[in-house]
């Protein structure tokens, strides 16, 4: 499978979700987020970048509705608002840890979201096979999680998030455990998926290069309390390919992003 | 002199109650002390715990329930024997609702019988009277199932369960004392180790004599102190219950009837024991050929001890 990196990007400017003055304080008095304002736009590929422990995962969990903000609010817009009201959010989440069910095979783990949607084994088979093919694990469908390498587990988790073709894809450092070549391939595959499905992706990464290569927009976080300190927009219609990766424009964007990140780490 | 008194322990087979009255009497009125004995009574419980303590020497005398157990001791080669029988009649009774007129009618009733009962006298009821095991339900020393099921009867001690039935059921039940229908075992015996009989017959004699006197005094004398001790050992016991038990013991001649008028309380005769054994063999409760003579000795009883204490 080769990604059609030249197809038009699905981005629109319609807002999907706005976080307004969101704060998150944990029981142990750690303030993970404070006064976080950010927007997620319909169909964009948004990357969150920031130092370790700055609240990226926390923000992603808030967006997913897995935890409630201690202050501020989340506003959903448009179609998605209706969907959520009807209790049919279509979210794919790749957790920072693989989060596989130890008692199920690779196939079973990837099948899970479909099964939960009432799609049986037989019916789900093609979609699962496709997802496993995408992450290069076709040969391991009957293996159990404990028989997989770290990167393989993470790939199963990615396949599981993609198999439902969700409208909103939240990914928490999905490629951190992967070698560069697999990573590049999956970068392209993900872009392809994004374009084909026209879905919205919020992507947490530590790699400046990756964020620039993939995103249509990058938010840079600072730590404790976590909030957005910089925003970079990248032309979504710019084709993402080897040529882009070696272009001076890319290098410039990376430098810019790196500087923003460096500032975020030492904001004083 | 109290200092020289022999320390002995007497284990009973149930919690303290009027059926043990004579022994408590001998404790409280000093009869044992007078016979040079310092007696401790170790009450039993629903499990016949104390019985095994006799052959191993943890206790010196044990209150046996009936002759059957003594016979099985012989079978199992356990060196114990009966030295006195305080109850001439086994108080074992079948308790029925008032509509039952005859013993025969019980054959059509559900019978609540304990496991021990089923293994012993009930086999005799099957053999001699044509009762059936199928009509039996387990008796768990609680009369409620009998009270609820109007078409049933249950086992009991004539001196004990009928009281609870009268109180709670509000009727006077029909009682069929098995002894009156031929189950002629002795009951509430004193058992001891054969070795003790051989080596210290004097101690055994003193215990037997004092106990017999205790029983005379308990039945015919002032038993208030004995009853107080019983109640102390068993706080569940009430004066009414004790009075009921004593009345029944007298009414049915449990302790003092038949041979005792001549031989005194505690009497045992070879003929009676042989007759009972033969019946049990007949009923297949016991095997033939048991040396029953080894299960008891009459050397300590039939001497008319204490007879003068009985009312004329």
């Amino acid at each position: 499978m080769t990604a059609d990196v030249n197809a038009p990007a699905p981005q629109t400017d319609a807002p999907l979700l706005a976080l307004r003055g969101v704060g998150k304080r944990f029981a142990n008095a750690v303030t993970a987020l404070d006064g976080l304002d950010m927007e997620v736009r319909q169909g964009e590929f948004l990357s969150l970048l920031g130092p370790s422990g700055c609240g990226k995962s926390t923000a992603l969990r808030l967006i997913a509705g897995l935890s409630e903000p201690s202050e501020g609010r989340l506003d959903w817009h448009g179609e998605e608002q209706a969907r959520r009201a009807a209790g049919q959010p279509s979210i794919g989440f790749v957790f920072q840890e693989p989060t596989l069910m130890p008692w199920a095979s690779v196939f079973g783990n990837v099948h899970l979201p479909l099964k939960l949607a009432g799609i049986g084994r037989r019916e789900a088979e093609p979609a699962i096979a496709e997802a496993l093919e995408l992450v290069g694990l076709s040969g391991f469908r009957d293996a159990y999680p404990r028989e997989l390498s770290g990167g393989m587990k993470m790939r199963v988790s990615i396949a599981r998030a993609l198999v439902t073709k969700p409208r909103l894809l939240l990914m928490d450092e999905p490629f951190a455990a992967l070698d560069e070549i697999t990573r590049f391939k999956l970068n392209n595959d993900l872009l392809d998926v994004w374009r084909r499905l026209g879905c919205t992706i919020v992507f947490v990464t530590h790699s400046v290069f990756e964020s620039v290569y993939l995103s249509s927009r990058i938010l840079v976080f600072r730590a404790r309390p976590g909030r957005v300190v910089a925003e970079l927009a990248i032309d979504p219609n710019q084709p993402r390919d080897e040529a882009f990766r070696t272009s001076p424009e890319y290098a410039g964007l990376c430098r810019e992003t790196s500087q923003a990140l460096a500032r975020a780490m030492d904001p004083r | 002199p109290a200092a020289a008194a022999d320390k002995v322990t007497f284990g009973t087979n149930w919690v303290a109650q009027a059926e043990h009255g004579g022994f408590y009497q001998a404790v409280v009125d000093g009869t044992y002390a007078k016979y040079g004995l310092n007696v401790t009574i170790l009450p039993g419980g629903p499990q016949a715990n104390n019985r095994l303590l006799l052959p191993v020497g943890k206790i010196d005398f044990y209150m046996g329930a009936n002759m059957l157990q003594a016979f099985s001791s012989v079978v199992e080669g356990i060196p114990t024997e009966i030295v006195a029988a305080l109850f001439q009649k086994d108080p074992q009774v079948l308790i029925a609702h008032p509509d039952v007129e005859t013993f025969e009618q019980l054959k059509t009733r559900t019978l609540f019988i304990s496991k021990e009962g089923l293994a012993s006298y009930y086999q005799w009821l099957v053999a001699d009277y044509g009762f059936s095991e199928n009509q039996v339900k387990p008796y768990t020393f609680n009369a409620a199932p009998f009270l609820v099921d109007k078409n049933s009867a249950m086992q009991g001690y004539v001196t004990s369960e009928p009281y609870a039935v009268e109180q709670q059921g509000g009727f006077v039940p029909k009682l069929f004392l098995l002894a009156d229908y031929g189950f002629d075992t002795y009951a509430t015996t004193i058992e001891t180790r054969t070795e003790l009989v051989k080596q210290n017959p004097d101690l055994v004699q003193r215990f037997v004599d004092a106990s017999i006197i205790g029983w005379y005094n308990y039945l015919y004398g002032d038993n208030t102190k004995a009853n107080a001790l019983i109640k102390q050992d068993n706080p569940e016991m009430t004066d009414a219950m004790i009075a009921f038990s004593i009345a029944k013991m007298k009414e049915y001649g449990i302790v003092d009837s038949g041979d005792t008028t001549t031989l005194g309380i505690g009497a045992m005769t070879d003929a009676r024991i042989k007759s009972f054994y033969d019946k049990m063999v007949q009923a297949k409760v016991l095997k033939p050929g048991i040396e029953i003579a080894r299960s008891y000795t009459t050397q300590f009883v039939n001497k008319g001890v204490g007879k003068e204490l009985a009312p004329k």
């Binding site: 997913a64 209790g87 130890p102 949607a117 | 199992e76």
Partner: protein, 260 residues
Amino acid sequence: MERSPFRWLLPIGVLALLVAAWHFIVTLNNLPPYVLPAPGAVLETLIRDRAVLFGSMLVTLETTALALLLAVAGGVGLALIFASARIVEFSLFPIAVILQVTPVIAVAPLMLIYMSTDSAVLLCAWIVAFFPVLSNTTLGLNSVDPNLRDLFRLAGASRWQTLALLRLPTALPYFLGGLRIAGGLALIGAVVGEIAAGSAGQGSGLAFRIVESAYRLNIPRLFAALLLISLAGILIYAVLSLLSWLALRRWHESEIGGPA
């Protein structure tokens, strides 16, 4: 060694050692059979009275198996009800505890008023056996990996799906642990139930044999009956361990590396 077929010889060897020790204690101290019968005498009795004893054992085993089955059904069923919310668990657990601590010996007569002997025995055995299943399963149902729980939440899993596909598998090792405890308890529950409420006479279980033997002071026979109970207990435990191994060997730490 851990995987060799000889491993089965070890527990048998240990048991043999125990029996040998027992034998020597009896012979060296010259203990009379009514204090402690020699193993030989017990075995002899077992063989001589095999018809009666094995018949009784079958009756008891039947009760045990049924009680265990019902304990699983009841324990897991209650655990599922409790699992619906912490607050339900909190409100209803006292009732389960009351059931657990009710001495069946005391309530058996009341049971007999309303049910047949067999049902009463079964109920007694059930009361004794269900709690470990309930308690361990509840613990297991509450030990779900929070990340996996989030995953299910996100995927829009219904309460029921989360239960079936997440909480139950998580609870499986705990449940199987509870089951191993319940197996032995069902057996003694059956025996105690028989003592408390069981029928006597022919066709009755091992408890009656024990009571009867005790009454007749036939201690070797009492021990033969106890021996059968012990064997049944070991058998039940072995079967449940095997079951546990089969269910968990592919994924749970406790069973990776061979059945316990």
